[in-house]
């Protein structure tokens, strides 16, 4: 019988890195802060002590150069996992990621490949502001050759990390900072998903909510309250961005006829748009109403909490949209009241007191 662990998402990543280092002698874990006392929000804790400074190491502040060096090491048979504490910093590595890592297998006729994992952390809160809290996953997902995954649950975080390490191509592993403390079950013996497919996290007949990363948590919160009012939402976690699993969403929509997509990125050119467009192209007639997209506004996040508090949509907006789609507007007030929280939107939970 398999053992099921209850772990936070962050601890699940740590566990996967630990198991990866044990299983793959060629794996390297590298990044600014990997062995420092804060160990990338505790996701690399204890690994240097266990596997040595040759395999678990810090790096110079040189994102582009070090990405290229990791690509070269990967070509030479290593399996580097490179960490960027914020996705914004990965922009400095765009050239190596896009022009080399993502293209190598294709441009050399499939004869070479780059088994590289790049962990990037997206997020929000505590005044991270315009250059430290962007959600740029769609930019990366647009690049052919780069697999982009964005797991939401601890179980997926564990398995996707190991699958990404085992993958012979480059994988961008996108973590939302606010997921790190969310706990879930990790069954190490669960069959691998192979870095594909969405996951249905909740069954419901009335409305399909397809959500990305942290928005899935918000969708689940909304779904719990909607249930109390007799509305059952089908919640699909869009945990893989490339390929984007339209099939699972299509099956759900065939049942519910209503689609609400919740993305955690600016609306412009988002994955939310891609999903809606693909679904519409496939089964226009399955939709009883025009689909809805909830996403961030198309402007940067200001640092000031007075404004940033109004930037991020959450469970409340998801529930409101669902009620509107179902034409159940009279429920708006009570559902809103149930979902309202006095927790400031720049804090993931009450224990968090800044500055990160």
């Amino acid at each position: 019988m398999s053992e099921i662990l209850t772990l936070s998402y962050g601890a699940a990543i740590r566990e996967a890195l630990d198991d990866g280092l044990a299983r793959f002698p060629d794996m390297l874990l590298i990044g600014e802060g990997v062995p420092d006392p804060k160990t990338i929000f505790a996701t690399t804790q204890g690994l240097r002590e266990k596997y040595g400074a040759e395999r678990v190491l810090d790096m110079p502040l040189a994102e582009n150069g070090m990405t290229g060096i990791c690509i070269g090491a990967a070509l030479a048979g290593m399996r580097p996992v490179l960490v960027h504490q914020r996705i914004d910093f990965a922009l400095l590595a765009m050239d190596q990621l896009v022009n080399n890592a993502a293209k190598w297998h294709y441009m050399f006729d499939g004869k070479q490949s780059v088994p590289l994992v790049v962990r990037v952390i997206i997020g929000r809160g505590w005044g991270q502001g315009p250059q430290h809290s962007q959600s740029l996953q769609a930019m990366f997902a647009q690049v052919p050759g780069l697999k982009v995954v964005m797991p939401t649950t601890a179980g997926d975080a564990y398995h996707f990390m190991l699958d990404a390490i085992a993958d012979d191509g480059p994988v961008l592993f996108v973590e939302h900072r606010w997921l790190h403390h969310v706990t879930g079950q990790v069954d190490k013996d669960r069959p691998a998903a192979g870095l594909s497919r969405a996951a249905r996290l909740r069954e419901g007949r009335d409305v399909t909510i397809a959500a990305f990363s942290h928005m899935t948590i918000e969708a689940l919160k909304a779904a719990v309250v909607l249930t109390e009012h007799g509305i059952e939402a089908d919640v699909v976690d869009m945990r893989c961005l490339t390929p984007l699993d339209v099939d699972t969403v299509a099956r759900s929509v065939a049942k519910t006829g209503l689609l609400l997509v919740a993305d955690c990125a600016p609306e412009m050119a988002s994955l939310g748009h891609t999903l809606i467009s693909r679904l519409y192209q496939r089964q226009q007639n399955a939709l009883k109403q025009a689909p809805r997209l909830i996403a961030y506004p198309n402007h940067p996040v200001p640092t000031t909490h007075f404004l940033a508090n109004h930037y991020y949509p959450g469970a409340e907006r998801i529930a409101e949209s669902a009620l509107e789609l179902l034409d159940r507007r009279p429920l708006l007030d009570s559902v809103r009241r149930q979902l309202q929280s006095d927790l400031a939107k720049d804090q993931p939970d009450r224990s968090f007191v800044g500055p990160f």
């Binding site: 600014e32 802060g33 420092d36 006392p37 804060k38 190491l57 810090d58 790096m59 110079p60 502040l61 040189a62 994102e63 582009n64 150069g65 914004d88 910093f89 400095l92 505590w126 005044g127 991270q128 502001g129 315009p130 250059q131 430290h132 506004p297 198309n298 402007h299 940067p300 200001p302 640092t303 000031t304 909490h305 007075f306 404004l307 109004h310 930037y311 400031a344 720049d346 007191v353 800044g354 500055p355 990160f356």
Partner: protein, 322 residues
């Protein structure tokens, strides 16, 4: 090397003390949870900002990084504007949109600080190019850390700056750490300033905790940049006392060598300059008066800043496109 007069030294002391006390006031109030942004304090490093900026005219320009409070204040940035910015208020120097990591006071010639490491370095060089092409006689100074020296963009910038003989002074604050990673985990044992020299900049290194020393090195560098001798590079050794980001000290985490922080505290720029002033018979009562003046100014700045309104909700979507 030119030695500052006692009056000059007293002024430098005053400017350093003002930065120190402002940073301490920010640290003391940070736990109240109303300054909700990442804040990188420069306590222990004040001599560099002050020693360099003391020579700058209002029309000279400064660029900085995530650890920018000291540079901003030394260049004459508004204290009220800084504090209001930390609190996310409308009167903040960026209207609250930026917080601690994005400062600007154009009227003081402090153009910008941003937190992507290396981000402002080429921009400063470009600004210097513009000044050069307008024959303005202004100099542009950019402050960055030893970690930043590892970024490719810095080396690309040095190449172009030398090629065009830009009136640029690059100031590397070498505090030995990039977040919690020590220099020896990131760079081989060789001098940063000599690499800058190999790029063709006029480069020197010095003690960043002795303000008279910084003052003298900066005077030469600024004069050379102004005289068309091309970009200058100063590597100044110093140490940050507080944690990388946040109001506290974090020596208990053990990423520094035991005793390292204490040794640097004994090399405190204020302590050092205070002693020199005492030797020059500047009485304790004069320094005490400076303390009081600064204390009153900071208290007033906090109350003035906090009296202002929050930014209007509609302003959030403003200024995306010109």
């Amino acid at each position: 090397m030119n030695v500052p007069t006692t009056a000059e030294l007293q002024d430098l002391y005053y400017r350093m003390l003002r930065i120190r006390r402002a940073e301490e006031a920010i640290a003391a109030r940070y736990a109240e949870q109303h300054m909700r942004c990442p804040t990188h304090l420069c306590i222990g490093e004040e001599a560099i900002a002050v020693g360099v900026c003391a020579h700058l005219t209002e029309s000279d320009k400064v660029f900085s990084n995530h650890r920018g409070h000291g540079h901003y204040l030394a260049k004459g940035g508004s204290l009220v504007g800084l504090i209001a910015e930390l609190y996310g208020l409308a009167a903040g120097c960026c209207g609250g949109r930026g917080g601690s990591m994005h400062l600007s006071d154009l009227s003081a010639g402090f153009i910008a600080s941003t937190p992507i490491v290396g981000g402002t370095v080429p921009v400063a060089a470009g600004y210097a190019w513009g000044e050069q092409r307008r024959n303005s006689n202004n100099v542009v100074v950019v402050f960055f850390g030893d970690g930043c020296f590892e970024e490719g963009v810095l080396h690309e910038t040095m190449n172009f700056a030398v090629l065009k003989k830009l009136p640029l002074v690059m100031v590397c604050e070498n505090n030995q750490y990039s977040v919690m990673t020590p220099l020896y985990e990131r760079q081989p044992a060789r001098d940063i300033y000599q690499i800058a020299a190999a790029h063709g900049l006029q480069a020197v290194s010095g003690d960043g905790n002795k303000v008279e020393h910084v003052h003298a090195l900066a005077e030469n560098a600024l004069a050379a940049a102004r005289n068309g001798e091309g970009p200058q590079f100063l590597e100044l050794h110093t140490h940050r006392w507080p944690e990388h980001c946040g109001p506290n000290e974090d020596d208990e985490l053990g990423y520094r060598m035991p005793g390292e922080l204490l040794a640097w505290k004994q090399r405190c720029p204020l302590l050092h300059t205070g002693r020199t002033l005492a030797d020059a018979r500047v009485g304790a009562e004069i320094l005490l008066a400076l303390e009081q003046q600064i204390g009153a100014e900071i208290a007033l700045a906090f109350s003035e800043a906090l009296a202002g309104p929050a930014p209007a909700l509609a302003s959030m979507e403003r200024h995306v496109y010109v």
